[in-house]
Every structure is written in C-alpha cells, then in structure tokens.
Amino acid sequence: MDRGARAALQREMCRLADGDRAAFEPVFAALWPVLRAFAARALPVPAEAEDAAQCALIKVFSRAAEFDASREALPWALGIAAYECRTLRKARSRRREELRVPPEPADERTSEDAAIERDLVAAAAEVMRGLSVLDQETLLAAGRGDRESSSTFRKRLERALARFRKQWRARHGAD
C-alpha cells in the first residue's frame, strides 16, 4: 500500500471510529485486499488464509468504534490479522497433536482389496478434478485432519461435500 493510500485509509478509519457510516465502504475496499494478501503470506493453506483474513476483517470492524485516531490504521489492522493467523496456526498444531494415533495393525488386505481401493481412489480423484479449487482445498484440508472449529469452515466443508456427492452420483450413480 503506497503512502497516499495509507493516508486515505487513516482518514477514513478515523471517520469510521467517529461513527461516520459513509466511511465503511472505503475502509472495507482498502483493507480487504491487504488483509487477504497478508494472510496468504502468513499461512500456507489458501483456505485457511482466506478464513483468517475474513476473521481479521470482522474483528477490525468490530473494534473500529474503539480505534484510537493517534495510532496508524494499517499496522493496527495488520496486528489483528497477525494475531488471527497465529491463533489459526496454533489451533492447527494442537489438532495435529491430538490426532496423532497409534500405528495401524499389519496390512491383511488381499490384492483384490488393493485393486478395489486403487479404483475408488482414482474415481474420487476424477470427481475432485470436477470441483472448484476452493472445494478441492477444503476437502483436502479436512482429509488431512486440518479441520477448523470455525462455523465458516464447517459450512464450506458441508457445501463441498454436497457438491462432491452430487458429482459422484452423476458419474457413478450411487454414494
């Protein structure tokens, strides 16, 4: 963000803190791309970065009425975004520790089981390719165990699963 844009954001943020609702749109338009880019740099999984940016934006507006005009708006907003990213990273590492399971028993599958599994994986991959990138990332994140506790992620996962099932039925005729 260049110097002029920062000054404009500062001005609009002060207006918003003062209760001027007309400043909402300019602040939203200026902050959303910045927070999105910041979260994308801070978090490796795009779906997580998107969620963190959204949470940060909501928090920025939630605290906008208490914004201290003597502080700079951009670092203040980025501080909130950094906190959100850190919280998400911590939650993910905690989940991974919880999900650490004991090793599976020895593989007793027959070659026929293995062939069936290969076919199923290939069919699922084909259906996945028909989904949007966001749906693919969401399903992969859930598959890896990177499930977030946020309702946003849950809803996104539900929608992605519904679309996956629909495509699966269209291709293979059953769940």
Partner: protein
C-alpha cells in the same frame, strides 16, 4: 464466504461495536446513579432519571459524531453539577424553606453556569459539529445534574438549566467570535 455476505457481516460487526460503546456509556450513567443513591438521593426518582440518562447516552454514543464525543464531557460536567447541592446538603444546608432559596437553589444555578461555560468552551474547540456537541453535551449534563438538583425541587432543576444557558451562551458566542 461470498464478498457480499462478508460485507454484511463486517457491517453488522461494526454496528455491534458501536452498540457496545453505547452500553459502556449507559454503564457510566448507572455508576453515577449508584453514586447519587449512595449519597442519599431517593432510589425511585434516581432510577427514573437514570433510565432516561442511560437511554440518552447509549443512543448518542451509538450514533457517533460530535454528539458521541459530547457524552463523556456531558457526564463529567453533569456529575460535578450533581455533587454541588449534595455537598451543600452534607454540609448541613436545609433543602426546604427559606434556607433552600438562600443556598441550594443558587448552588444549582452556579453549578449549571459552570457546566454551561465548560461545555461551551469544549464545543467551540470542535472542528465539525460544534452545535451538535453543545446540544448533546448540555442534554446529558442537564439530566446528570438533575440527580442532585432535584434536591431543590423543580426550582433546583430550572435554576440549573437557566444557569447553563445564561453562562454557556455568552461563552459560546465569545469563543466562536474568537475563532
């Protein structure tokens, strides 16, 4: 989340933040009312005035602008004016009869004058919305001061209001002319 949904959620979060600010202001009004009751004011009348003050300051803080900035100044100035008659009562001044007219009602007028002058000075320093600041600040200060000035009955409240206008108007005009 779709951008439109995100925008709606952000807007709702902003309005909730402002409502939280209003609730804090209403909390300050409750504290002042509690102090008035602790200093011996009747709970029924104080509760009635407190309800009006809490609603007023919450609405002004939620709305924002100069009127929101006037809330703190109004509450502070009004609290000072509220304490004047209460302190006189504590000092032993009679609230009714001739003694009331000699000390308490004039105290309310003087307190109102100080409130009016202070608010007029602060309002004149406002870049935008000076009138709005003055009106909102005076309304908040008047209701806050009423906690104490009702000691002198209706005469106390009217005296305080007259004092506010009588002292505030010339200070306001002089400060505006000076700018």
């Amino acid at each position: 989340m779709e951008p439109i949904e995100l925008r709606h959620r952000a807007r709702r979060a902003y309005e909730l933040g402002r409502a939280r600010l209003g609730a804090k202001a209403a909390g300050a009004a409750l504290l002042i009312a509690a102090a008035a009751v602790a200093l011996g004011r009747p709970p029924e009348l104080t509760a009635l005035l407190c309800a009006a003050l809490a609603a007023l300051v919450a609405a002004l803080a939620f709305r924002g602008g100069a009127s929101a900035r006037a809330v703190t100044a109004g509450l502070a100035a009004g609290s000072g004016a509220m304490l004047a008659p209460v302190v006189l009562m504590t000092a032993g001044c009679s609230m009714f009869g001739p003694a009331s007219m000699r000390f308490c009602v004039p105290a309310c007028v003087v307190a109102g004058g100080v409130v009016g002058a202070a608010l007029a000075l602060l309002a004149a320093r406002e870049e935008h919305g000076a009138r709005e600041f003055l009106l909102a600040g005076t309304a908040v200060a008047a209701v806050t001061a009423s906690f104490g000035c009702t000691l002198g009955g209706a005469a106390g409240v009217v005296g305080m209001a007259l004092g506010t206008v009588a002292a505030g108007a010339p200070v306001w005009l002089a400060a505006r002319a000076h700018r």
